[in-house]
């Protein structure tokens, strides 16, 4: 959420933009109409330029005609232009697994997520980036919320079991937070491979606090179901082939569990400085999931 002092800046700039737009339309009515007839405006001119550049690249054309080609180590910018629907976004996201993104594509994705899910996501937060944003998420067991916790005290999915030790960030309930918050955090927690973050070992002390219970948006690109969750543990081991883990509640609300115990997901930082977005499933703003 925006801080109140930010509003005047954006409002003033928007006012200046509107004045410039009005001046352009007034002084060059013909040009304004000509561009309108072509279906573009000066606000979209960079997107138009990007589309043209994309279309001019043969390799991009080849990739577009074969969307399931492995994209490891290659830019996938050419797959993303603008997303006219959530279905288009999800189709594109499916193709991004193992691919690298440029800043512009990341903005396109974040803007589209904001449009359809009503929450703000970012690929980079406070100069922190994830080792990967796409990959396989596996089912995790419940985690200890406090030292004497037992599986029968967990409300849902007791069949998933309780992990043998506490999570990498400690117990969810430490006496300083509320029980309801701790309970919700454990219900909606994810796991990611913090140990392969490049500066994890050198900046561990700072990063551990920063990542502890950090909020993320997780999307299942197969069905569009999305969940807000906190980071509750570190893992899974690289040898498993999975890159994320999800609590039973997360996996269920993404549409995987109990039928499946793993599935491909997109994980992005949630931009929620006011801590106002509740954990749990996120509804589509503009419709229903696929």
């Amino acid at each position: 959420m925006s801080d109140p002092v930010q509003v005047p800046l954006l409002a003033k700039l928007e006012q200046k933009r509107l004045m410039a737009q009005s001046e352009f339309a007034k002084r060059h009515e013909y040009a304004q109409k000509w561009l309108e007839d072509k279906g573009i405006s000066l606000e979209q001119i960079r997107e138009h330029s990007k589309r043209l550049l994309t279309g001019a690249t043969l390799s991009s054309a080849l990739l577009l005609s074969a969307p399931h080609l492995p994209l490891m180590g290659k830019s996938v910018t050419s797959h993303i232009r603008t997303f006219s629907s959530i279905q288009e976004l999800l189709e594109q996201l499916k193709n991004l697994f193992s691919g690298k993104l440029d800043e512009e594509t990341e903005i396109d994705i974040n803007n589209t997520i904001k449009k359809y899910y009503g929450v703000s996501t970012v690929f980079e937060l406070d100069n922190n980036r994830l080792p990967t944003y796409f990959g396989s998420m596996g089912l995790e067991q419940h985690l200890y919320r406090f030292a004497t916790d037992t599986i029968d005290q967990h409300k849902n999915y007791q069949q998933a079991g309780l992990a043998p030790g506490r999570g990498a960030f400690g117990f969810f309930f430490d006496g300083r937070n509320s029980w309801s918050e701790a309970e919700k955090n454990e219900e909606y927690y994810i796991v990611l491979q913090t140990f392969i973050i490049p500066n994890w070992n050198t900046d561990w002390a700072t990063l551990k606090d920063w990542y502890k219970f950090r909020k993320f948006l997780v999307i299942n690109p197969q069905n569009g179901q999305a969940v807000v969750a906190v980071l509750g543990d570190s893992g899974p081991a690289v040898s498993t082939g999975k890159v994320f883990g999800g609590s039973p509640e997360v996996m269920a609300d993404l549409g995987f569990y109990p039928k499946y115990t793993r599935g491909d997901v997109i994980v992005l930082f949630l931009d929620d400085p006011g801590n106002e977005i509740p954990l749990g499933p996120v509804k589509f703003v503009g419709g229903t999931t696929i």
Partner: protein
């Protein structure tokens, strides 16, 4: 961002860097950057069309629409006007950046 043929004269990246340092959330930063970019595009195109005689507007718009990043548009304009177009756009860029910096400082 995708390039436009006048980007190297306006150097709006200088402002983008300053916006990055603002203590505002990421989503608002993106909106501010987008608004600034749109503001610049309107101002620059207004100035270009002010300079270029009207009988060349359609041809220029067609070429610009076909390839917004093509730096040869500058030569196209320069061949049809008396003033130094590059110098005019650099000057305009400085004016716009000064105006935006004033707003950034006041926020």
């Amino acid at each position: 961002m995708s390039k436009l043929f006048y980007d190297h004269l306006i150097l709006i990246d200088e402002i983008i860097v300053e916006i990055e340092t603002l203590r505002i959330d990421v989503q608002t930063k993106q909106k501010v950057k987008k608004t600034v970019d749109e503001l610049v595009n309107y101002k620059v195109m207004t100035r270009i069309l002010d300079l270029l005689p009207k009988n060349h507007h359609e041809e220029f718009l067609k070429e610009f629409h076909r390839s917004p990043a093509d730096i040869r548009h500058l030569q196209f304009i320069q061949n049809r006007v008396e003033t130094d177009v590059a110098k005019e756009l650099v000057k305009l860029g400085e004016e716009i950046k000064k105006e935006i910096r004033k707003e950034l400082k006041n926020q």
